[in-house]
Structures are given as C-alpha cells and as structure tokens.
C-alpha cells in the first residue's frame, strides 16, 4: 500500500483520538450534573431550557406583591428542575399579556444561592419565615426588574413543562399568591450552557474572592518563575559560556546536572521542614523559590550563548562595555528564541506543578489551579454526586492562559529543540 495514503489515514485517526479528550472536556463542561451521569452520554453540547412563567395579576397588585409571589414560586420549582436540563426560570407578570414585572433566576443562581438561603429542603413555609432574607439576596443579585415592558409571547413546552406547571400551581395555591399562573413555556438558552462556568467563577464569593484568585496565584507563580529563569539562570549560563575557563564551565555544569539526578521526592521532606520553619507555608514564595534551580534551562541557555560569536564580546569589551551590559544589551536581544523556549518550558512546568504546591499551599485562597481543581473534584457536590461539569469548567478556565502562552511561543518550540539538540 502506498506509504502516503497510510500516513494520512494514520495521522487523521490519531489526531481524532488525541483531540477527543479535549472535546470531551469542553462538552462535559456545558452539561449539568444529572446530564453528566446519563448513560449513554450525549456526545454533543445541547442548549438547556429556560422555563417561562406568566402571571396574570389582579387589580391593585404592587411590585412588592410580585417580589413575594416570585420568591414563593421560584425556589421550590428550582428544586424540581435540577433534573431537567434547566437553564433558569423567568417569571413575568402583567395584565392581558403585557409584561410589567420580571424576575429572572438562572440555574447558576440557584446553585450558588440556594445553599445560602435553604441549607435543607425548600418549602413554602420556610420561604415565608425567611422572606426578608430571601428577598434581600434576590435584590442583591439583581434578579428583579420591576419596570419591564413588552408583550408576553406564549411559547411551546417540552416533556417536563406540564410537570413544572403542576408544581407551580401547587405552590401558588399553598402560598396563596396574589396573582394567577396563566401559562408555562420553555425556551432554549445558549447562555445556560455555561452555568458551570458562572458557578466556578462565583462559588468562592462568600469567602470574599472569585475563581480569579486561583488563576492569579498560578499566574504569579508561573510569571515569577519565568522572570527568575531569565535573570538568574540566564546570567549563570552567560558566565559559563563566556566568563570562566572551559574547565570551570564543565565543573559548574556537573554541579547543575547532578541536581537533576536527585528525584524531587528525596528533597521534598527536608524542604517541607525548611518552609515550615521559615513560616512560608501558604505563601506563593514557597513555590517560586525552590523552582529556580533548573539544569535543563541552564543547559539550553549555555548552548545557545556558545553559538553567539565570541568576537562580539571582544569588540564590546574593547569599547569598554561591562559584562553586565554585554549580557543585557547584546546577548538578551540576540537570544530571543532561547528566552522564548525557556519561558514556555518554565511557564508550562510551573502551571502544571501539583505535588509541591499541594503540600505547601494547602489553604484555599493560596492554592494554585491544579490544587483547587483536584480538591473540588474529589468533593461530592450538593446532590451527593461528583460535579464533573464544574471540574471541567474550571479546567477549561485553567487551560486558557497556558494555551495563549503556547500559541504565542509554539513556533520557537521546534526551533528550540532543533538548535539545542534537546532530547527530552
């Protein structure tokens, strides 16, 4: 068989397999928990439904009445809807199909605030007893718009909307709300696919920060790591390539390469003790500093610098330039490719590091992305099932910065491997 055809078939098949987990990561992040446990699973993302409820209001109905009615109707229904591809609930109220009041609660709102408001089951009585608190949360999250206008367009239902309508009528009766439930419909919601992302981002709000806190921790560690490599390892390598004799250079290289032979598990235990004594636990510095020794980067820098003609140094020295100046003004601009390769390797390495950060950053606000994602992945969610879509959404968020770095530097990667003879 022609080699060319085999090559194409093989490559395309393997690329499909290789990219499938990434596709699956994204697809799962758009599902809800129940959907993620379905067998067989849905292979493509689907848009979940927003339930629309229209209330016909009696004379003398005020905005305050609407707020209370919405609270009675929304929260019990939310509980019922978690199994039903639920993107949210939109309660509208007015006369003869004209919309006057609106209350919108998305499924992420339900996930985020239901546990705050109703740690246990939701019932009309509980809502009645805590009405003030419920309304304050709904106001805080801007769920009401009390000056709406427009015409209510009746929409079709889905297989669940009859059940939802029955529930709504039951709660309306139980709470004796002032308006009457006139119709229930459903509408597909695009933004509803991303509710796990909203939950991921906002679920730490009660502790006073968002998911960005973890992105920031990882960014600080990775960027500081790159800068330290550029500066410290770069200067070390310059000295090895240009300042010391060949013999000293070899001794220094052995000095560095020997550290590669020490597996991290050997030094982790004393290092952990050192960090504890210095009271650097739960301080990002505890991750940044021990990452500085990198024989691989040193090797890359040194090899590249040795490829730069020594005549340049001689000429610069004759002109009276100091070594620091030669390094920063001559070697740095000439070595952009190797600085890029080192940046990419260091950034990726720091972004992915798990073991050491999980030991020394074990309190929530200081965790890096892999640590917090792993911690949450193993904790059962509110339904008692692991919330994989949430983990996947967080993973996608964690993938964005590193993917940008990767796109930015990838052309240097192959170059770097070629001219340094990097073998692993």
């Amino acid at each position: 068989m022609s080699l060319r055809i085999v090559a194409y078939v093989f490559t395309i098949l393997f690329l499909i397999m290789l990219l499938f987990p990434i596709y699956w990561l994204f697809t799962t992040s758009t599902k809800d928990v129940m959907q993620s446990y379905e067998t067989p699973p849905e292979m493509f993302p689907t848009m979940p439904y927003t339930y629309e409820v229209y209330l016909e209001v009696p004379d003398g109905y005020t905005a305050e009445d609407f707020r209370e009615d919405s609270a009675y109707l929304a929260w019990p229904v939310a509980n019922e809807c978690t199994n039903r591809r639920f993107a949210g609930l939109r309660i509208m109220a007015g006369y003869n199909g004209m919309i006057q009041y609106k209350c919108e609660i998305s499924s992420s709102d339900f996930k985020l605030y239901k546990s705050e408001l109703f740690p246990g089951a939701v019932s009309v009585n509980i809502i009645r007893n805590t009405m003030e608190k419920v309304l304050s949360v709904m106001d805080r999250e801007k769920m009401f718009s009390l000056n709406s206008s427009g015409v209510y367009a009746q929409r079709g239902g889905n297989e669940y909307s009859d059940a939802v309508e029955a529930d709504l009528n039951r709660f309306a009766e139980e709470a004796s709300i002032k308006a009457t439930v006139s119709s229930v419909g459903t509408q597909r919601s695009f933004s509803g696919m991303f509710s796990s992302y909203v939950v991921a981002w906002l679920r730490f709000e009660t502790s006073g920060y968002t998911f960005f806190r973890f992105v920031q921790n990882s960014l600080i560690i990775s960027i500081a790591g790159v800068l330290l490599q550029w500066l410290l390892t770069g200067m070390f390598a310059y000295a090895m390539a240009r300042l010391v004799s060949a013999k000293t250079s070899r001794i220094l290289m052995v000095f560095a390469i020997l550290t590669m032979m020490i597996p991290s598990i050997v030094i982790v235990l004393p290092l952990y003790g050192m960090i504890e004594r210095l009271q650097l636990k739960n301080n990002l510095i505890a991750v940044i500093l021990p990452a500085v020794p990198s024989a691989m980067n040193l090797f890359l820098f040194k090899n590249f610098f040795e490829g730069i003609p020594n005549d340049l140094n001689e000429a610069a020295r004759v002109d009276g330039a100091s070594e620091l100046r030669i390094f920063f003004q001559l070697y740095v601009p000439l070595s952009v490719p190797i600085f890029s390769v080192v940046a990419m390797l260091t950034f990726t390495g720091a972004w992915n590091e798990f073991f050491w950060p999980s030991l020394v950053l074990n309190q929530e606000p200081y965790m890096t992305l892999p640590v917090i994602i792993n911690a949450l992945m193993n904790a059962p969610g509110s339904s008692g099932l692991r919330d994989y879509p949430l983990s996947m959404a967080m993973s996608v968020i964690a993938a964005v910065p590193i993917f940008i770095v990767f796109l930015f530097f990838q052309k240097y990667l192959t170059e770097g491997m070629v001219f340094t003879g990097l073998k692993g």
Binding site: R4, A7, T11, F14, L15, M17, L18, L19, P21, I22, W24, L25, T28, S36, Y37, T39, P40, P41, L232, M235, A239, M240, L243, V244, T259, M260, M261, I262, P263, I265, V266, I267, V268, L269, P270, L271, V292, P293, T348, W351, N352, F354, L369, P370, I373, N374, M377, S391, S395, A398, A399, I402, F403, V405, F406, Q410, L413, M417, L422, K423
Partner: protein, 296 residues
Amino acid sequence: MIRLQAIRKKVLSRKFAVCCLFIIPCAAFYVIFRYWPFLQSLFYSFFHYDYMNPPGDWAGFDNYINTFRSSVFWTSLWTTVKLFLLSLAFGFLVPILQALFLAEIKRGKATFRYMYLIPAGIPSIATLAVWKYIWNPQGGLANVISSALGFGTHDWLFEPNTALFALRFSCILGGGLGMMIYFVAINNIDSEIYSAAKIDGANGWQQMFLITIPNILGTIGIQFLLTLTSSLLTFDDVYILTGGAESSQTVVMGIYRKAFSELNMGQGMAMSVVIMLITLSVSIVQIKLQYRDNKG
C-alpha cells in the same frame, strides 16, 4: 607561597568579582534548594526522626533494613514497574509511528504538526480531570464502550485488576512533546541520504525502515530511559486519579504516606534514597548512551 599569592591575586581580581556576580545568585539556589535538603535527607535517613526534637535517635541502617523488609515497599515497587511496562506497551511505539508518518505527509504537514501539539498546551490537571470522568463507573464513557463490547462495567480506577490498565491507557494517544522529539530527530537526518536512496530506487517504506528508523535509534533509546526514570517517580497522575488507592500505590506514594500519614520521616527518607539510587543507575546508563549518540 607563590601559589597562594597567585590565588589571592585571582580572587581579588575584577574578573573574578564579575564571575561571582553572575554565578553566585543562581548557584546559591542550587545549594539551598537542592544540595542542602538532599544532604539532610541522607543524614536523617539514619535517624528515628523525631518531629519535636529533630533529628531524634540514631538508627544506623534500621530504616534501610525496615524498607527492604517491608512488603509494602516491594509491592509498591512492583506496582511502579508494572505501570512502567504498561506505559511501554500502550505508549512507547505510538509517538514514534506518529512522527514517522507525519514526516511522510506533504500537504497540510504544518497543520497536522500543530494539531499534534495541542494536547501539550492543555494543563495536565484538565486532561486528568477528563480521564477521571471517562473512567468513572457512573456516566463515564469507558463503561459505555466496554459494555457495548461485552466486557461489562467496572470501577476502572479502583478495581485491582483494572486500575493500572486504566491509569496508563491514555498513553495510547501519544502526541504532544514526545511525538515532537522524534519528529525533530527525523528532520535532522541528512536529506542527502534520502536522495541517494531514491536514486538507488528505494521506495517510501524501504526508506523508512532502512534510513529513518536506524537514524533515530539513539533518540529512541534515550526516550526509553527517560520513560523509565519518570515512571519510577510517578506520583501526580496516580494521586489525582485514584487518590492513592491501595491497588495503585506507587513507590513515591508510599514515601508520601510514610512521611505525611504515618509521620515516619526517617524511613520515608530512607525509602527515597533507595529509589534515588535506582533512578540514578538508570540515568548513568542514559548519559553514557547520550554521550555515545552525540559522538557518533
């Protein structure tokens, strides 16, 4: 005397000061964060480590003897070796084949190469999260596929018979940097050899088997040893996927347990010294091979 003076002169010279300025800031990190903890580990491995009053009582070789006597150590070492063998079986040939075939492609080569690299741009925690979900007994794809094929359903990551298989199955996808290393090695082969072979009438398959593969054997050997050393030190992926369940306890995980759960630092360090000696001997072979490869 003269020699001493020469040394003093050298030390006081401006050039020496400049060298120190460039070298010492970085070298200090090597000493503080690598050599010093390493020596501590070596030292403490001879003590019954006491947290309250370090380093505690002298233990002689007790920690080492206990390590070699403990069945847990040998089981976890065997588990680690099995993981290595599985990653060889699933994943060793794949990136080689991918690189060989990618090199044969003319049209769209850059795009394909780029797509192969995409997984390297995804953080490992994301990939592990997906695999954890795929192997999950409820809702995971693995059980859907295996029951469709008639193998029934399993709790893949936790059943003793399937845990190691599930942990290493993802190696079969290849791609990423591993593939790239071979691809670069293939591109580095002198194109004149191929021209000569073409004149002699060798077809594509013959060129692949008689020129390309023999020329990347050195790279293959080094990759093999790198896989071995990294496999012996496996921790992150196993810990994230199984949380260190009994059936998949690797050596490093055993050390982690000894030190942080059983609080037996001394023995933890002795175990880590043992595993270091093993990886060190592998690395020495690797360096010899690499040296020969660079020369040849």
